[in-house]
Amino acid sequence: MLYEENEILVDDLPKDFMEVNFGPHHPSTHGVFRFVAKIDGEKIIDIEPVIGYLHRGIEKIAENRTYIQFKPLVDRLDYTGALNNELCYCLTIEKLMEIEVPPRAQAIRVICAELNRIAAHLIFFGSIGLETGAFTPLLFGFLDRENILSLLEMLAGGRLTFNYITIGGVRQDIPAGFHEKFEKFRKEFPIKLKRYADLISGNEIFINRLKNIGILKKEDLFNWGASGPTLRGSGVKFDIRKVEPYSGYEKYDFDIPVGSNGDVYDRYMVRMEEMRQSLRIVEQALDSLPGGEFQAKVPKIIKPPEGELYMRNEGTKGEIGFYLVSRGEKSPYRLKIRTPSFSHLNMLGFALKGAYIADAIVILGSFDTVMGSCDR
């Protein structure tokens, strides 16, 4: 009885958790992302994402360059889907300057943007395999990405950062032999997708790893500003290509795959199905390729009129947006870039709470973030 006042219950004791630092150099943080996880055994109590290791001040650089000089840097945001970035940047300026892009250029833009989307999703396929411990999908994914890259190389000359889409069109027309090469790819790719399904999508262990982890509800995703496949995985049928069609997407017939459960598996399946839909779009665009010019007449010096504008498009990971404030000068007064990776990484602390370490890595992988796009 003497010590009753001083008696300490075990539950009252401050618990000592282990703090583990993941990254910035860690095999599965997708570049130079770092998070500090407080863990209790194998369970994550709290995490703190640390970003900024790849900050290059791209938004500030934009204020000191002309519009054309800045364009190559846009490729370096989300380097897995560089053409989608370029497309959005060029669309922003075109909309402000009211430039009419010729239909042929619009179709070519759609073709290269969708091919790039397939390539980006193939990287996702490889990396999610790596995160669950299977090494082969990575090599399979990159092998098929190689075919797409060689197609894009024919088109643009580059393989990772293209600088292909210009303000008012594209830099060059579709070269001879592109159709034949695409025809070959079109025949092969569905077989490859089937092979992926055989290899890993139907694997019991793989499904068990992805199902029912990292479940995100629609409302939470709205609040965190999620977009793209991450949002669609939770059953929201939102695709900017359908909602606010740009570059002639309204002409093409394609479906928006959505998940139902909102777990990692749904996000994975959405991406796998999106590759099929992207291929459909490219087929349609190539089959109904209009003739004519591939570059509109634009002034030599790009000087958008005074005004401000937000333009967005459906990038490979989600909504890419450019908010441009122009004072009628040769360079933007301010250029704010909205990238999906940043929004998704914000959500990480919320999404990972209570997950196992092994799941945490998979959930992080399921957002498919690119640090170049997050840090800018």
């Binding site: 583990v20 090494f135 090599l139 694997n203």
Partner: protein, 328 residues
């Protein structure tokens, strides 16, 4: 015999065993690279020698030539001894593996029991490495490997007991000899499945490579090791792969059967072992990794009951057959 002859004889055996172990490990590493490479539409090593057969030798030389780094803050003795301790069980087990009729270094009555007991020993080295490295990833890896080994050793041993019941002996040579008419993989198919799965878990191979899951805890228990200490862990991993496959070949595929001749026997035994190794590598290049709780569930809720049922059915059948033959 004079004492120095005994000593010399033992030393000779040790040297032969060591040579065999290193050679096996080198061959297996090369094989893994080639098998995985071809399964992934790659070539694997190509440059050193025809089809890159000298690649692993150069790799070994490179690893041996590296600076020996002992990081600050490690538990020095545990850290230094772990790579040596990891080799002891592997080396010891080789003494009991019968390669062919009468080709066995030490033939004792309970060699299977002994081998299984020693195999559990290797986890101490992993725990030592995990603890001694003073690294959180390593500690997690070490603890994971202990949990893994504990839960998979039991079904593995129970599966092996089915074979023991059928052969009526715990001597590995005797077990192999008993399979002259039929290999135990036929009556003990379930046992083989359990044994092989559990042995993959025992040696931390995919889909059970949880202790060294590179996407989660980077490299697990061997994260702080480099140079020849890392090489020791790496070699031990492959030697263990050989050992469990050899054990499975003896228990379920008839060891050296059907050849009585020592040379043919050894060859056929090695062929069987390498087929199983190929199977393990195939699994390694196509399967993803279990999550730790799913993995525990699989061990305790699937493999363990299955192995108990297998043991029960086997004992009943053996009893009934013996009754008919009038042995009891």
């Amino acid at each position: 015999m004079i004492w120095w002859v005994v000593l010399l004889w033992a030393l000779l055996k040790l040297i032969v065993a060591l040579l065999f172990i290193f050679l096996t490990a080198l061959v297996l590493i090369y094989m893994l690279r080639k098998v995985m490479g071809h399964m992934q539409y790659r070539m694997g090593p190509r440059h050193h020698g025809p089809h890159g057969i000298f690649q692993t030798i150069f790799d070994a030389i490179k690893l041996l030539g590296k600076e020996d780094i002992v990081p600050k803050g490690v538990d020095r003795w545990t850290y230094i001894w772990a790579p040596i301790v990891v080799f002891i069980p592997s080396l010891t087990i080789f003494a009991f593996l019968p390669f062919a009729e009468k080709i066995v270094a030490t033939d004792i009555e309970i060699s299977l029991f002994f081998v299984l007991a020693i195999m559990g020993f290797s986890v101490i080295a992993l725990l030592m490495a995990g603890w001694g490295s003073n690294n959180k990833y390593a500690l997690l890896g070490g603890l994971r490997s202990v949990a893994q080994l504990m839960s998979y050793e039991i079904p593995m041993i129970i599966a092996a007991m089915g074979v023991v019941l059928m052969a009526g002996s715990m001597n590995l040579s005797e077990i192999a000899r008993a399979q002259s008419r039929i290999w135990y993989i036929v009556p003990q198919a379930v046992g083989f499945f359990i044994f092989f799965t559990a042995s993959l878990a025992e040696i931390n191979s995919t889909p059970f490579d949880i202790p060294e899951a590179e996407s989660e805890i980077v490299a697990g228990f061997n994260i702080e090791y480099s140079g020849f200490r890392f090489a020791a862990f790496y070699l031990a991993e492959f030697v263990n792969l050989f050992i469990v496959c050899a054990l499975a070949a003896i228990l379920f595929l008839g060891g050296w059967q059907p050849f009585k001749d020592p040379i043919y026997g050894t060859v056929i035994f090695l062929v069987k072992t390498y087929v199983l190794i190929f199977l393990a590598m195939w699994i390694r290049s196509t399967f993803p990794r279990f999550r730790i709780d799913q993995f525990m569930d699989f061990g305790w809720k699937v493999l363990l009951p299955l192995s108990l049922v297998n043991l029960f059915v086997t004992s009943v059948v053996v009893l009934v057959v013996d009754k008919f033959k009038g042995n009891i």
